[in-house]
């Protein structure tokens, strides 16, 4: 255990001012999507209050991944054409980019790699939800995937100074990288991520995805399916080298997650084999 780092991290999580912020509009839109009384026009109005987000949202609506062909030139039009769940996902991409699209030193990720990893996992999670006929949760799988590693943005600095200790614990005790993070620093990147989402007042399901994406078997029953989907998508992207950093593949693939989703061997292999399509779709989000 590295006492200094642990104390420093305790200070950070207890003083949420030191955790990253997200534009208010993201939290508001998430709440409104779950509110049956919120109309398309009210959601559009809320988004339009943030000029920078609006510009990016419109650009993303017309990107090859989200576009339905016709040019979308207003947020209100976007909510009607794409639906509010899709618009919520788009707001999310726009609102989180500046937090995630940077170099992540301790994990040895060059600028853009963590961001591209999140996009690829999001595209793949959504695809898994669709092929498993769970289209009603596909949007949550997408949003949860975008931010599943947000804890790394805060923990990276400390991983960098404790890296040797973490790696030698992985070796000597034969435990996963994030278990070693927890043993050495008192927190792993999942727990730090959960604190960040708590600061943002995000719904429990998204907090569970962030908190349990490497250990879906420990997720509460009501979120197990979504956590499992993101876990599998994340595993496949890491195996494909997308966003694989200094923590490498020192993570376990959960058999329970495979069972929870009901994925057959062949389906799993197809998801891996189709990674080039996933990468193309993810790069069409811009």
């Amino acid at each position: 255990m590295h006492e200094q780092i642990k104390q420093r991290l305790e200070q950070i999580v207890n003083n949420i001012g030191q955790l990253p912020s997200i534009p208010d509009v993201a939290g508001k839109v998430i709440t409104m999507v779950n509110d049956p009384d919120a109309s398309f026009s009210r959601i559009a109005e809320e988004i339009s209050k943030d000029q920078a987000i609006t510009t990016n949202v419109l650009k993303l609506c017309n990107s090859a991944y989200f576009s339905r062909g016709k040019e979308i030139s207003s947020v209100e039009r976007a909510t009607v054409t794409l639906g509010i769940k899709e618009v919520k996902d788009i707001v999310f991409v726009a609102a989180t980019k500046s937090i995630l699209d940077k170099q992540i030193m301790g994990y040895d990720l060059a600028k853009g790699e963590l961001w591209k990893h999140g996009l690829a996992v999001a595209v793949l999670s959504k695809h898994i939800a669709m092929i498993k006929k769970k289209s009603e949760i596909a949007d949550i799988a997408f949003t949860g995937s975008i931010i599943h590693d947000v804890g790394k943005t805060v923990l990276a600095l400390y991983v960098q100074s404790a890296f040797k200790e973490i790696v030698s614990l992985v070796d000597s005790k034969q435990i996963t990288f994030q278990s070693a993070e927890r043993e050495i620093m008192g927190f792993d990147h999942q727990e730090i991520g959960e604190k960040i989402l708590t600061k943002w007042n995000f719904p429990q399901i998204l907090r569970d995805i962030v908190r349990f994406h490497h250990e879906p078997e420990n997720a509460p029953n009501e979120s197990k399916l979504l956590v499992s989907i993101v876990h599998i998508a994340n595993t496949i992207c890491l195996m494909g080298g997308i966003g694989v950093g200094s923590d490498g593949l020192y993570h376990q693939i959960s058999e329970e997650a495979i069972k929870t989703i009901g994925l057959k061997d062949q389906e799993l292999e197809n998801l891996y084999s189709n990674l080039p399509d996933t990468i193309n779709n993810a790069s069409a989000i811009q």
Binding site: T235, G241, D247, H251
Partner: protein, 159 residues
């Protein structure tokens, strides 16, 4: 000036000195072949050991390797001057052997070595297996390969 070319998943690239070919690997294999006389080389980033034959040949070890050799010969390389270095093929940590997906890293290594042997391309270095992700840089000025994994760098010079 060295030009850096990123080789993506299931992609292949050939180039001449002074280019650097880079890729990032998990369970995939980066196959680097070099002509020591012509100072020209190529990299294939394969995802799987073998496919059905009808798909993208760059994706599979069994089709990518002959294609890469052919592309190099078309670029003026001589087969007797070619040698290979391979890297990647990592597996998820302590995977359950029931999960066939988790064995892909190992299968990729086996098939890559087999195909290079069948094609009579000597393997000068194999930085493969384990659980680390790898970033590899293949320098076409002299055929050296830099492998960065788990915060450490290794350099392989033999060609």
């Amino acid at each position: 000036m060295q030009t850096l070319i990123n080789v993506g998943v299931a992609q292949m690239q050939t180039a001449a000195n002074p280019t650097v070919l880079r890729t990032i690997l998990g369970s995939c294999i980066g196959i680097c072949i070099y002509d020591r006389v012509k100072k020209t080389g190529g990299m294939a980033h394969i995802l799987l050991p073998n496919g059905s034959g009808s798909e993208k040949p760059e994706k599979y070890a069994d089709t990518a390797i002959p294609l890469l050799i052919n592309n190099l010969i078309k670029a003026g390389c001589k087969k007797e001057n070619l040698s290979a270095k391979i890297s990647g093929g990592a597996s998820m940590f302590k995977f359950n052997p029931n999960i066939s997906l988790a064995q892909i890293g190992e299968k990729n290594i086996e098939m890559t070595i087999k195909l290079l042997e069948e094609n009579h391309i000597p393997i000068m270095a194999a930085d493969v297996g384990g659980n680390a992700g790898r970033v590899i840089d293949f320098y076409l000025e002299d055929g050296r390969l830099k492998v960065r994994a788990g915060g450490k760098e290794k350099m392989y010079y033999k060609i």
